[in-house]
Symmetry: D3
Subunit: 327 residues, 6 copies
């Protein structure tokens, strides 16, 4: 189903139903929409994220995107399908997250990588929990301006500022396997930071990232994450600076550049076993000329291209090789 | 409390707390914010309606607005206060409506007219129910493009398409005391219309309004509504054409002009006993230059100015009298 | 095919191929996209008109739209399909119009009413010519701010200011069967007006429309148009005031109100035999909150609802009847 | 000179210098820019009004605009020139108004009709005073949402809320020859209204306008204004509803429709001797798709077309005559 | 007072009156609004800067902002109050600057750090002069795309292109204690540069900044500025690239990134004695999704956080330390 | 002629006619507008590029722009004129490119450097071919996100994705003298890349650029390009990230920063003999606050400033020298 607006599949890839085991069984990756903004603490609008991410590209919707630098076509080299949206009413977060968690879990159980298009970040609870069901030990690599480890959201357990606390509290993810990159600003408070420290979370504030270099941080994160059987990649679009992603709910100046995030996502996916993924907090009413949604679209493509690379280990070419030599 | 953004009172009127009986007891009218958009079926954003309606005016925020045509100052002639927002989490509609209904009921019990700034139209359930508690028999005059009498909203009882059905089903409002003006478009379906007819609702589609004239319709409505002890006035901003109110969640072309609505609201309030009121569905992310929020602001002022007129029955002047003669 | 962006059908109606005679043969109406803006004299952008008109509605894309006032469901009572877009490169107007004319002609030949979503108004040449092929005598009812009877467009025969001259010059439409409503502004020059007068065109400038009343004009037009076997309805969205349709290429202040146009279109289609139709000049880059595209969407629905009424002559109800009485 | 941005003339008419007596002496009308927004009480931006009004049209900038209904070409039938902008620093209102008043006075002294493109409405002081210098007795016809008769503007004599008081206090215009149409909203206060009444100003609030009809009001105004030797026409774009003119500094809902204003301006200019004119309060930063600036452009054209009609009294045609009959 | 719009305090900190010596005497920092855009040479709109900077944050307005990297809460660790706006009429720059200078001087005399929210950059004259009154020797660190050392502004001494010349000419600041960072583009002319050189100003054009590195420049500047008793920090938001700050009056491509500016401001304030500060040229009408205003808000917070660090010299932690280790 | 809108010259430089040999013969550089968007594959709007690039600057339009870092005034040190627009109907690409090619060829033949303001990138065919006619051996330095070496554009030879293939196929430019910088994304397909490799094109994908450094790439490119008699510089604005240039037709995230492009263009022009240039794909309808057009304006100024430097070889100063030392 499509929750808001007409039925559109991600860049023209095949559309299959979430309960069509046969179709899904043969797939590597499934795009799934989570059009939910009931968990936002400020600007709503992320409910239109899935359709904007699916449909902001300028090229034909033909289910093919040959990657210029990596020489893979993630939509052809992998079997990628779109299972449409989960119906997630904004007004009942437990119902909404329950449905999403079930759908994501279904995909993971079939060894299909769920790629969830948010939606606000409260969906991480469902996405991580649902993916985790398939694996004994899963790490999370989390790009975000905010730690999302708050205790309560308007007095409630779920919301876009609390999911990372919930999955650690639940025992789904161990704190020392939780890697956060790009944090900054004036949140959370010291008590929450103390809780995070006690969980042994690995959180890289932007000053440390810029001081040590993003490459060094990523190497450190990937080396540690590799020790888990699976990795879940969570990308909150507000990890980049508002210049690159104005269309989001709680922007925080001073973020990564688009090229840093694209490269980082590609690197993570071509290095560790990403078995689930989400791109969240794209809020189209605040976007301009679709640039935020288009960036989110490219994050998905870079991630899947990275997965292709990882699955073709014999390929000794490097992305930075000259474009027009024989490969 | 203010749910999103800084604390601002409606045009600079005094700010009092909802539980301050003393301050409220001396008041005629209380502005109350309902920053809720969890009940929308399409575009969210109405959560920012209250702050936009409070703060879109170009004149000083001095708690005074002398009405040019009516020669009243609704913010001075009436004792008007602002009780801030009710905390209404988008993700839990029952909790949210419960809190709002309680707050509105509190005001009504103190004989204070609640003027609720929405928020999406699902709040009508709380606003009407809360106000009704004070009266034995209450009519509803409802300006809207949509009947809002749907049975279910994404499978649920509450939402911005269902509140009018709920208050009739509950027995709060009798169908024949429910007056709808400005309906149009392609909703609801025949089954719902049949239910409405069975309730003996009085619903005026826009074609009938234009054919008979809005004045004639209003006369008919006011004559009937006057038979109730109290009237609740519900104004969904989408009753006007999208040209006048682009900043709304589910626009429908072909609506009233702004001047028709302003005049109609003034007329109703100066004719029947309006004891509660709401202005809903202002969605600032879709507005331009604040024109929609400003129109909603004026709807409140026209309504209160009408109330002033009704309470000064000795005044024989008419709004259409020349401006600069002795009155 | 879809020329720009993902494949979307008009409000969720079935999508069939233009060369699928079997599917088309059973249809009453076919929506067809003409994503062409190569013929504009000023702002381009109308190439995105078809997708915006198809996808701007706030309700579910379920192929059903029950008309509140008319009690018909134009998408269900008629067999309506969407044949996608014609590939119309902006850079070769003759090629583009040729392809469109052929597609429209195909539909007309099968007795399917083509409803063309523009695109700039240069497409009228193809739409009128293509539809005309099926009929011996066709009238045109044309709502527009501009007469579109210019002789040359940047020195060329085709363009959005010349199509109405071309179809008269070609002998396709006789001047006295060409009815224009809503003209205004500062174009064309006296020589062109003289040519129009010689063709005996019936052109109603907005001052005359307001002086005599739109109803009287429409009665006059319909009485005359009814003498033709078929009528083609051409609606340039700029016939309404820019307040109602900012998203257009060459706006002209002082136009009709949205409600006037919607009602007029409904009236024409429920009165004379409209056998082809176009809605043109929606330019999404200049729109705000999709209000122009939504108005165009409603123009199509009102037109088809009018067609339904015309085909059910036994129905004695009137649109202005009370909504909730038995019909 | 051009104060902000490149040199552009109104629709391509000749550009002459304000001190070129020879060129000006042969002219009927001079367009003059007053790019001043230092007098605004809320939103600034009107400094860009002149360039937006000059350059928002979609047709070629060829110095010709044949009026469809009136069959005149105001830019050809009259000798119309553009004298560029007056340098009016925002930060020194007395200096700015002094310069403008001198320039307007120069034009009037040469029997050239000044058409001033604002700029905020504080310029009315200079425009009226400057034009008045040429005549013994001048009336003012003033379309506006606001009376602009305030006593002080942030404690100062000049500003966009006070000019009409100043010109009456100065004795430039007698109160009973000051006609205001379209006033509405919540300003000014009773003391100011009492002052206005004492001056015997003729001010028509919008409720009276709608009750009696704009035509009746205009007839009354023109009959009275005709008794003066000359008339100054002041059009504040906010007299129309914000739907038609969002790009303005202090919008007030419930205004005239664009077609009402265009027709009224045309009527006034074809009925009484308009010897000076201003169009003010176009604030491009708040406009959308240039619709406000385009409306202001048309107000100028309608006014000049009306002047053409007045100067050709032998023409017995009426604007509402059929377009394509011999005239 | 609040000059435009409702009363709002910076992120919910206490609001005190500028003449309340008692309240101010106990304060470390006072936020003060300078809503003035009468000094702009192109786009106006900066009058709305103060309210936008105060109210663009997405988090609760609770007067607390714990800095993630520095582990200080600038709004709690310092005693910070908001004294509202100075009434600064756009139309009288000398009056406006006089009032502001007096208010800033009052604060400085009480040893309260004035943090002025502009407003256009002409206010620097008042801000620097007012702050300087308290100190014998003050340096200025100035981030800007423009040197603002022009001689005249539309023929006048004050304006947003001239303040830096005025304070040097007046002898308030010695040229060699004036440090400018980020200059670029095509202004000023060689004569002005020669004047600057004669004053021995230290101006770093962006090419030099990028060539040597911003860190090296800052070290050089801080080492020199430290020799003064006090430092005034002037931040023109247009020092960053328009991508990061589109909402400004005279953007110049090729500027700093947001992260560079935030880090530089933090560095300066934690290194030298900043005793006064301004953030100017935020022009909300040209902003998108409030990103420019939000950046300005963060500049204030980073500056105050830096001040906190400087006042806690015992703290040996560094901003780039890992986030979750004991500090 | 000016194709759309009023006549405006680039920053106030003299306007001469393209066929005025005398005026042109004395010129070094001619700005020429190519208002064509008929060749776009997605968003149109680039037809308004020329006027936006000419008129987006905030400074006076006085034909002077002293470069702060280089100490040249490109508009004064070179003889620069503006020849207006070529009339390029969107609907006939061959006609349009033919006219442009002829105009560019005229300029080149007179040893005037053509600086073409696009328009979409299909114009490169005319610009390169036209310029090439004057030289025996010309290299192309091409900044772009896309290689523009596609074979067909909607089945046709010309379009904005194919010009670079055409000029190589025609033998105008040898593949090994074609240098592309900034390519990225998911286009073109491997077959096209293979064709490019066979032509021995030198194409630098963004990953290689970031890995090796833009400086190293530029050195390599300039060293090679210098071997040709002349260089044509083609700058597609989409080579920068959408954050810096949202106003373009086919944005691709992950691009260069504005400062990288400005510096690179300056470097190329001050190093090799640039004898023709184009800046393309600025699409104003998608721009915000004119930031994209302003960047394009600066690209022209940086290029011309670079040309000035190259022609003054005695100047030993470097752009990164301190601003205020004697030079």
């Amino acid at each position: 189903m499509t929750m808001y607006g007409p039925e559109v599949s991600f860049l023209g890839i095949p559309r299959v139903e979430i309960d069509d085991d046969e179709a899904l069984g043969g797939s590597d990756v499934a795009i799934i929409g989570a059009p939910f903004d009931g968990g936002t603490s400020y600007r709503s609008g992320a409910r239109f994220g899935p359709q904007a991410i699916r449909a902001s590209d300028c090229q034909p919707y033909d289910g093919s995107r040959p990657h210029l630098a990596l020489r893979v076509d993630p939509l052809r080299d992998l079997r990628v399908v779109d299972v449409g949206d989960v119906e997630m009413p904004a007004f009942d977060i437990e119902l909404a997250l329950g449905r999403l968690g079930e759908a994501v879990g279904r995909l993971a159980a079939l060894d299909v990588i769920p790629v969830v298009l948010g939606g606000d970040h409260s969906i991480a609870y469902a996405d991580i929990t649902g993916t985790h069901g398939r694996y004994d030990d899963m790490a999370v690599v989390h790009f975000d301006a905010h730690a999302d480890t708050g205790n309560l959201h308007f007095g409630h357990r779920f919301g876009h500022g609390t999911p990372m606390r919930r999955v650690i509290e639940d025992g789904t993810i161990r704190g020392e396997r939780f890697f956060q990159i790009g944090l900054r600003g004036y949140w959370p408070d010291p008590a929450t930071l103390a809780w995070m420290a006690r969980q042994q979370m690995k959180s890289y504030e932007i000053t440390e990232v810029r001081s040590r270099g993003l490459g060094a941080i990523l190497d450190e994160v990937c080396a540690a994450a590799r020790q888990s059987e699976a990795v879940f990649l969570s990308v909150d679009i507000d990890v980049v600076d508002p210049a690159f992603a104005p269309g989001t709910g709680t922007p925080e100046p001073g973020g990564l550049a688009s090229w840093e995030l694209l490269s980082a996502v590609r690197h993570v996916c071509s290095t560790v076993q990403v078995r689930g993924m989400e791109v969240v907090e794209v809020a189209p009413p605040y976007d301009h000329a679709n640039v935020t949604a288009l960036l989110a679209n490219r994050i998905v493509l870079e991630a899947l291209s990275g997965v292709c690379r990882l699955r073709a280990p014999g390929d000794s070419s490097r992305p930075e090789d000259p474009l027009l030599i024989d490969r």
